[in-house]
């Protein structure tokens, strides 16, 4: 009898089986993949339909649209993962404190600038050229994560924690202040060092673009290429998102984060040091933002002290789009927004016959989405219905 009870106890309790861990970690990732494939398919379908509508007047339009489609999808993925990794910082902090950390865009910027500083150091000491690409990537990401994570924790300690319990507007104003201070401090530092206002983000040679396959459309086959930097961005982001899901869903600390987000005083009745948990969420969000900043800098090749503003706002849009406070939602919102933007940027001018330049209107598309969501579905794509709220 006693033995039976024991067996029951252990099967119904503690040791999560391996499959259970896989499910909690890859469930959200699966949801993310679903949204990636879904957005890519839906938007491609829209493109084809729009092309077919105009095909009478412009016979070559379908071929032209399809030729750039794979590149647009890759671009969408890169933008999407960029927004997703920044959006996680907003959403995690919101989940725990119900507070929008408007300085998070600057945490991202700092990651980029620190990465550029590392690359400048390596370049000027002659180490860069001979460095293996992977080592360089890991190095700048690690440095970006450490510095941005530490900065986010410091900001919380200095500018937000003393205001906890104050009316909601007060920490928000503090966050905007922090954001301005960080921008201008960084400008001061950059313009007084060899970095300069627009700092180059040097990288070792990552090799030639990867040829994925060739598309046979009309006259000659069109190669579909994946730039190595895009590949780095996508792989690094996916690894980070998987790690985050594991941390939040399958570890004791992750559960403590969720418990604290759901009910802070009660979490402290469990022996959870909620101040530590709040600091931890800033650390994780800041580290993710810093990594995204370094990856972004590496990808575009230059960084400046104001580069965090627009991506920060868009990532915030992504977080709201996915349902603010919801971790899977932030990732989903990020990729959906990234795809939308990439499609608008590439196809708007094609379909309006050059009347509108897509690149210029991509931002408008992004922020129109924010406004529409706030009006029609403030709870976001995944909103309350999901189980994944922090």
């Amino acid at each position: 009898m006693a033995a039976e009870v024991k067996a029951q106890a252990s099967s119904s309790s503690g040791q999560r089986s391996f499959t259970e861990v896989l499910r909690t970690v890859f469930g959200p990732v699966g949801q993310l993949i679903l949204f990636i494939v879904g957005s890519a398919l839906a938007l491609s379908l829209v493109v084809v339909l729009l092309a077919l509508l105009q095909i009478g007047a412009r016979p070559d339009i379908l071929t032209r649209a399809l030729t750039i489609l794979p590149q647009v999808i890759i671009d969408g993925l890169v933008r999407g993962f960029l927004f997703a990794s920044i959006a996680l910082g907003y959403t995690m902090v919101y989940g725990v404190l119900e507070f929008i950390n408007f300085a998070h865009g600057e945490i991202f910027m700092v990651g980029g600038v620190v990465g550029a500083a590392v690359s400048l150091f390596l370049a000027s000491s002659g180490l860069l050229a001979g460095m293996p690409g992977l080592l360089f990537v890991i190095l700048v990401i690690a440095v970006g994560m450490v510095v941005s994570g530490a900065l986010a924790v410091t900001v919380e300690r200095v500018a937000y924690r003393p205001l906890r319990g104050a009316p909601r507007l007060v920490p928000l104003i503090s966050a905007i202040g922090v954001s301005l201070v960080l921008q201008d401090l960084m400008r001061l530092m950059m313009t007084n060092t060899p970095l300069g206002f627009n700092a180059r983000f040097n990288t070792p040679d990552f090799g030639p673009p990867i040829r994925l396959f060739e598309m046979n459309l009309g006259a000659r086959p069109v190669p579909v290429i994946l730039p190595p930097k895009a590949l780095i961005f996508i792989v690094a982001s996916v690894l980070m998102l998987i790690a985050l899901n594991y941390l939040v869903n399958a570890t004791r600390l992750g559960k403590a984060i969720r418990a604290t987000a759901q009910d802070m005083p009660t979490a402290s009745l469990m022996g959870i040091n909620v101040n530590q948990i709040v600091a931890l969420t800033f650390l994780i969000g800041g580290a993710l933002g810093g990594a995204a900043g370094a990856l972004f800098g590496l990808n575009v090749g230059t960084v400046n002290p104001y580069m965090g503003f627009i991506p920060g706002l868009k990532a915030f849009t992504a977080a709201v789009l996915g349902g603010i406070g919801n971790i899977t939602g932030a990732m989903v919102g990020g990729v959906v927004l990234g795809f939308l933007e990439a499609f608008v940027a590439s196809y708007l001018s094609l379909f309006t016959n050059g009347a509108f330049s897509g690149a210029a209107y991509a931002d408008i598309a992004a922020f129109s989405i924010l406004i529409l969501i706030l009006i029609f579905r403030p709870s976001g794509l995944l909103g309350e219905a999901t189980t994944q709220k922090v």
């Binding site: 106890a9 252990s10 503690g14 004791r252 759901q262 009660t266 979490a267 469990m270 959870i272």
Partner: protein, 238 residues
């Protein structure tokens, strides 16, 4: 030496003076009940003991150690657990995860953890069937069981219960009081806050009556049940 002792405790919410010199002692092994009408300060007393509120005056001692400035998460470590008013289950964690949070300070890999879990499931067999269900989807009664179970997972010496019978059907109320007695019989000291004064006094050793933030009566449970004022004000007897 009393296990838990409040000496002339004053607690405020901003300018609101909620506890005006409360003194309570709880001896090891007892069930002590704290009764009083709405807004008397019962929950405030428990929150002060648990460290969620810091008193502005007076002292709180646990096993002779002063704890009124100790933060809440440290107090749990010392051996004081609370099942708070309104149950406060983590709604989006499963039943098992809620219990794991109760065991936050202990290793979930240890045998002791499994024994604790088994103890909770024996007290509340209903929870065993629902380990994978989200806390927020449990019925009120099940949530109360989970709140008590979760508090027990911290391995408390003293269990603070804030209106465990609130909103439950009479059968369940009966059951919850039985379980409180069982828990006490297993060696856990209990401080029980209740509106349901009659039932609370029937399982308690001693009781305190709190009114507008001050203790107005204290006696053995038996004596309180027979006290005329208590009967009129709290037992609904004429």
């Amino acid at each position: 030496m009393a296990l838990l002792e409040l000496k002339n405790v004053h607690t405020y919410y901003g300018k609101i003076h909620a506890l005006k010199g409360v003194s309570i002692t709880v001896e090891k092994g007892e069930i002590v009940t704290l009764i009083g009408s709405n807004g008397a300060g019962k929950s405030t007393t428990l929150r002060t003991i648990s460290g969620l509120l810091t008193p502005r005056g007076g002292e709180v001692y646990f096993s002779g150690q002063r704890i009124d400035k100790v933060p809440a998460h440290e107090i749990v470590k010392l051996g004081i657990a609370q099942a708070p008013e309104g149950r406060r289950i983590f709604p989006r964690l499963t039943v098992l995860e809620n219990l794991e949070m109760g065991a936050y300070l202990h290793s979930t890999r240890s045998q002791a953890y499994h024994d604790d879990l088994e103890r909770v499931f024996t007290l509340f067999p209903r929870l065993r069937e629902r380990t994978a269900q989200k806390g927020g989807t449990l019925s009120g009664g099940e949530q109360q069981m989970l709140a008590i179970g979760r508090a027990l997972m911290t391995r408390p010496q003293v269990l603070l219960l804030d209106e465990p019978s609130m909103g439950l059907a009479p059968v369940l109320v009966e059951q919850i009081f039985e379980i409180v007695k069982t828990i006490n019989g297993q060696g856990t000291t209990v401080l029980l806050v209740e509106q349901n004064a009659l039932q609370a006094l029937s399982i308690a050793n001693r009781g305190y009556v709190l009114q507008s933030g001050a203790i107005v009566l204290e006696d053995s449970a038996q004596a309180l049940r027979e006290n005329e004022t208590v009967q009129k004000a709290y037992l609904g007897l004429e």
